[in-house]
Symmetry: C2
């Protein structure tokens, strides 16, 4: 079965690509507005893209056509954000922050989460998340209606027990982030693991 995406309208292209390109890691992003309100929102058009320098990218999208989401607006103003990874313990909280609130209202107020002060950025991070990446914007690329924020990771906070500080290897039983699956509402657990050694 073949689909010509250039001919299709973008709603179809979105459904097809957001369903096929899976599982996607989830960036639960905090930003800070000029009044000091902390915004939180999840995005799964997201990944790491290199380590020299430590490079991540995510696409915050628009609230509606031409109106950037608060996340994009805040990053444009101050260039800082924190990306949290999401496991089962914060999955419901993450999902509840996907609601669009009026600009200046915090998604975090009702959730009983604990914020910690950022060390490399002024944006606070969510203590309950298993991992938090403090980032500075490198640049933002606009391609058609798409907006991709490129960030350099300054500092990483990891829940106790997840990472061996000597080897920098992860304990895969202690860290099971959820993944984003097919549009509109599917997610996966990552408790079913297997290993494949890279060939020489």
């Amino acid at each position: 079965m073949t689909f010509d995406l250039i001919e299709k309208d973008s709603a179809d292209a979105y459904k097809i690509l957001a369903s096929l390109v899976t599982p996607r890691p989830i960036a639960w992003v905090t930003t800070l507005d000029a009044q000091g309100v902390v915004n939180a929102a999840p995005f799964s058009f997201f990944n790491v893209f290199g380590s020299k320098p430590p490079l991540v990218a995510f696409a915050p999208g628009d609230r509606e056509a031409g109106v950037p989401k608060d996340t994009a607006r805040n990053i444009r103003q101050n260039g800082e954000f924190v990306i949290h990874l999401v496991d089962a313990s914060v999955a419901a909280a993450m999902n509840s922050t996907a609601a669009s609130l009026p600009y200046g209202e915090s998604e975090l107020d009702q959730l009983g989460l604990n914020l910690a002060a950022g060390e490399s950025v002024s944006v606070p991070w969510i203590r309950e998340a298993p991992a938090a990446l403090e980032c500075r914007q490198h640049s933002t690329i606009e391609i058609g209606s798409n907006r991709v924020v490129l960030g350099i990771v300054q500092r990483v906070h990891v829940r106790e027990g997840v990472l061996d500080p000597k080897t920098k290897r992860i304990d895969v039983s202690a860290y099971q982030p959820i993944g984003r699956m097919a549009s509109p509402s599917w997610y996966c657990q990552t408790d079913s693991l297997f290993e494949m050694q890279r060939p020489k």
Copy 2:
């Protein structure tokens, strides 16, 4: 536990980020060299980033410092590639194409896979993969030692039964791509699904 990635060497930053930013979708990429040899290699610094136009990005990295992998070299020459998603049926074949062969030798020769002619690009695609995205390079960004290829998806091939051609929704029981997990060798299955409805 906190790590300052700017102070760390990039090997540590790689281990930390490639283990935390998971599960990652896998791009099994075919390209074509000037002699007509088909190259195949997997990359998990990859995602979709928008639908207007249909935008994907992946980081092909270097074979060794300063020497681009064949994938990057071929895309630089002709600007075309096909990204395949990977499920259990092609996982071993995908992994075997991670081996570095001399330039001009095909990773696909020994694998008994069937190639089909590209329709929007001259690069062939692998029939056994559950989904194949024919892409043209939009641009390639270099940030430090990192290289990010941005591509526009022209055409999508999907295995029969995966996508409802009317609704463009996926049958989540018919499509279970594997995901890349913690460095160096962990993968996940995506058979353990759950739904969360986006709040209004």
